[in-house]
Subunit: 140 residues, 3 copies
C-alpha cells in the first residue's frame, strides 16, 4: 500500500459551484493507485466539497436557491458580520455541506456513480482562491 498527496487551487467566481471531478480523477491517476480511497479536502471554512448530480445544471441552481432560503444572507440572527452579510451564512453552509469528502478508488479511478460529480461550493459572494488537498491511499 502507498500514500500519495497532491494539491491544487480553485479560483472561484464568487458564490456557486465548480466541477472539480476531472482534477480529482487526475490526482488519482497521478498517484498510480488502483484500489483504495481518495480523500478531498478544502482548507477553508466558507467553501465546501460535495457530490451532486452532474448532468442538469438546474440541480445546482435549485440547491443554491434552497440554501439561500435556509440560511439567508443578512439574517439578523447572526452577529458575526465583519466581512459582510454573507460571512456567517457561508460558515453555516460549509458546515451543512462539509469540507471533507472521501471516495472509493477502483481500477485506478474514483468509483463515482454515473450521475455523481465532485463540486467545490463557494459560499462567499466575492471571488476567492481555495486550496484543495487530495490524498490517495491504496494498492498500486
Amino acid at each position: 500500500m502507498q500514500t500519495n498527496q497532491a494539491r491544487f487551487e480553485v479560483a472561484t467566481d464568487g458564490r456557486g459551484t465548480t466541477n472539480i471531478t476531472r482534477r480529482v480523477q487526475d490526482a488519482v491517476r497521478g498517484s498510480g493507485i488502483r484500489t483504495g480511497l481518495c480523500h478531498v479536502f478544502v482548507q477553508h471554512t466558507s467553501a465546501s466539497l460535495m457530490l451532486c448530480e452532474n448532468a442538469d445544471p438546474t440541480v445546482r441552481r435549485d440547491l443554491e436557491a434552497f440554501l439561500a432560503r435556509l440560511v439567508p444572507d443578512g439574517d439578523p440572527l447572526f452577529h458575526h458580520t465583519a466581512e459582510g452579510p454573507d460571512d456567517m451564512p457561508s460558515h453555516v453552509r460549509a458546515i451543512l455541506t462539509n469540507m471533507d469528502l472521501t471516495l472509493p478508488v477502483s481500477d485506478g479511478r474514483c468509483a463515482l456513480g454515473t450521475w455523481q460529480g465532485v463540486f467545490l461550493y463557494e459560499h462567499r459572494t466575492d471571488r476567492q482562491r481555495r486550496e484543495v488537498v487530495v490524498t490517495v491511499q491504496g494498492d498500486g
Copy 2:
C-alpha cells in the same frame, strides 16, 4: 497494511431507511482487517448513508418528518422536477445527509457506539436499487 473492496446492492421500498450495519460488518470481517478504517459509499445522488440511533424506530420516523418539512416535495422553489415532486428534494436531502461515511475498525469490526447503526436512506418515493461500495484499509 492492506486494502479490501467489496460491493453490495440494496433494494429499497421507496423513501425511508434500511439498516445495513450487518452487511457493512460482514464486509469488514471478510476483509480480515483488524485495525483501520471502513469507508462506505453509495453511488447515487438521491440516496445517502448515515449513522443514526438504532434502537427506537421513532427516531427515524421523526427524522423523516423533519426532512419532509425542511425540504418539501413539490416546493415551487425547485425547477428540476422532470422525475416528479420528490426529484430535487431527494438531491438536497442526499447532500445534507451525505453519500460517504467513514468508520474506525477495531478488533476486526467497525467500532460503532452502542446506539449507532449504519443506515442507507432512500429519498425517492419509488423503489430503487442502490449500489454500495465498502473499502476497508488497515492491518490484518
Copy 3:
C-alpha cells in the same frame, strides 16, 4: 504504510462546542505518521464533529442560534421525547453536522487551513462524556 489508533474522552458542559484540535494533533504526532489521513469519530448519536472557524467565538454562538431555530427543542413534530425536549433535536443536529471527519496529514500534522479548528459539538443540554476514536493511516 502504517495504521495507528488512539482514543480519548471529552467531558462536555452540555450543549455547545469543545475545541479538540490539539488532542487530534497530539494523536497524529503520537502516531509518527508524516503523510496520510487522520479520521476522527465520535461513538454517539447526539454529539458530532465538525470543522469550524477557530478565531471568533461568535461564529459558534451564531451557529448554535441557527441550529436552535432550525431544529427547535420541544418541536411537536417529534415523538421520540423519552429523554426530554432536546432528545430528538440532538439526533437531527448530529446527523446534519456528522459524527465522522477525515483530515489530510502532511508533515506530521493535520493539514488544516489557518482558520479551521476541529470541534466536538455536544447537542444534549446535560453534561455528557463522549468517546472519540482517532485513526491515523499513512507513511512514517
